[in-house]
Amino acid sequence: MRIVETRGLTRYYGSRCAVESVDLSVPEGSLFGFLGPNGAGKSTTIRMLLGFLRPTSGIARVFGRDCWRDSRTIKAEIGYMPGDLRLYSWMNGHQALGFVSAARRRDVTKDGQRLAEEFGLDLSVRVRKMSRGMRQKLGLVLALAHRPRLLVLDEPTSGLDPLMQDQLHAHLRQMAATGHTVFFSSHTLSEVEELCDRVGIIREGKLIRDESLESLRRRTGHHVTIGWKKPGSMNDTPPPPCLTLEHRDRDVWRGALSGPVDDLIRWLAAHEVDDLIIARPDLETVFRRYYNEPTETS
């Protein structure tokens, strides 16, 4: 089942297009990373999914329901943590849990206390006296406490220390393993790479990729480094058609391999190779490649 689905989702702010024809599809139980730099349209898309903004055109559905019309029903099963999290400064953690329980008409205090313990958060401290990291932890506790079917996190780890980030990642993986869906917006590529199994890349309001991380890497090909046994021996030799060189000197060639690895191995067999590294590119390389491609409009 598709937990999040958008078709032709478009949003204008006056004459400026913030999101244009976004088609997203997030299956149940997945950890979906929504990637893009600041201003690419990530938060606008999330705000439409949560019913904060009405789409200019297109469809946005969560759990098969319309995000604007059925916003209230949908949010009963969503946990949301905004990017720029601001909590009521006069509340302490216990009051915040009490408030959320009463607003949700469901007691989440026990689960909230358990999570706070797990995250090392003192619930008796008032929000106004909390550090940024503590507020972030409280935001996560409030978003997770009711065990939502869909968790929407807008850059959740900014402000968290590395240990807490690891703990959160473990928690999210556990959630996904038990059928919960995580929609995770970030511009920290290593984090998405470590955590997500599916990625959407948004650029200038347009979704340029929505597929599994593995398929994205496969599509991008391999990253190849070749060290030659005799320096300078390959100076006049052209690379095989399957290899696009990005760096070339007397000792080492570096480039991107398109197509099967066999072709390169066969070609290398005729030359004297000292060292060979063939690896899938990391997400950062993939992301940069997509972002450096010219768009139709730019």
């Binding site: 209230r72 720029d84 601001r86 909590l87 009521y88 959320v100 978003a143």
Partner: protein, 271 residues
Amino acid sequence: MNRGLMFKAAHELLAATLFCGAMLFVMESLLAYVLPLFEDQFSEGFMQIRFLQRFVAAMLGSDVAEGLGPEMFLALPWAHPVILALVWAHAVICCTRIPAGEIDRGTADVLLGLPVGRWEILVSDTAVWLLAAVIVLTMTYLGNLLGASLVDDSTQASTSTTLIVLLNLFAMYLVVGGLSWLVSSLSDRRGRAMTVVFVVLVASFLLNYLAQMWKPADRVSFMSLLAYYRPLIVFRDGSFPTHDLTVLFTAAALLWLAAGLVFARRDIRTT
């Protein structure tokens, strides 16, 4: 209505309600006690100054040129600018919190991330606001009772007449609240929303004042809020201001409804 939202609203309105309630209690008791003491001196000076007559007439909602009766000193504590300013300030503080206040301080995302409808938010907050209004106006009434009890019996109004004036003040308070909800629903900045409402209220007061001496202003004085709050007439005639109350309650209901419709349909942007 949502218990969580009501708890939050009650907590956020407590300080403003206690402060305004206490101030109104003190000011109202002082005015109700002090003004009748100066009746003779005030009457002599008052008849000489046309400007003052117009100003008081604008406050009380009736021409006072014919003379100053004890009713005027009963009405003045209910229409004194300090009292009106405190009552209006309470309404504006309470009713600009949602959504302008929430968006302004960045908490709208947390609030609207919860499974609560926008109408539900408005209704829950309105319920708490009305309770706060009752507290504030009760404090005003008690202040008046205390002040009046300290002066001699001949200048005291009947309880029923005072309660009618209180009801009229409540109706006017609701209109200010309704207007504040509407302006707040149209705004992302609470400070801006409060300023707009205060400008409208000052303009309303000014129109009522100008109407005393300038015909064109008199023709449009029906647009002034104070045209429907005339405590002097109630104290003088003892009549029930059915028309004024109908206009005020209808305006308050329409403004609140419009605020709800705007809030339910608008985009919430915090970034």
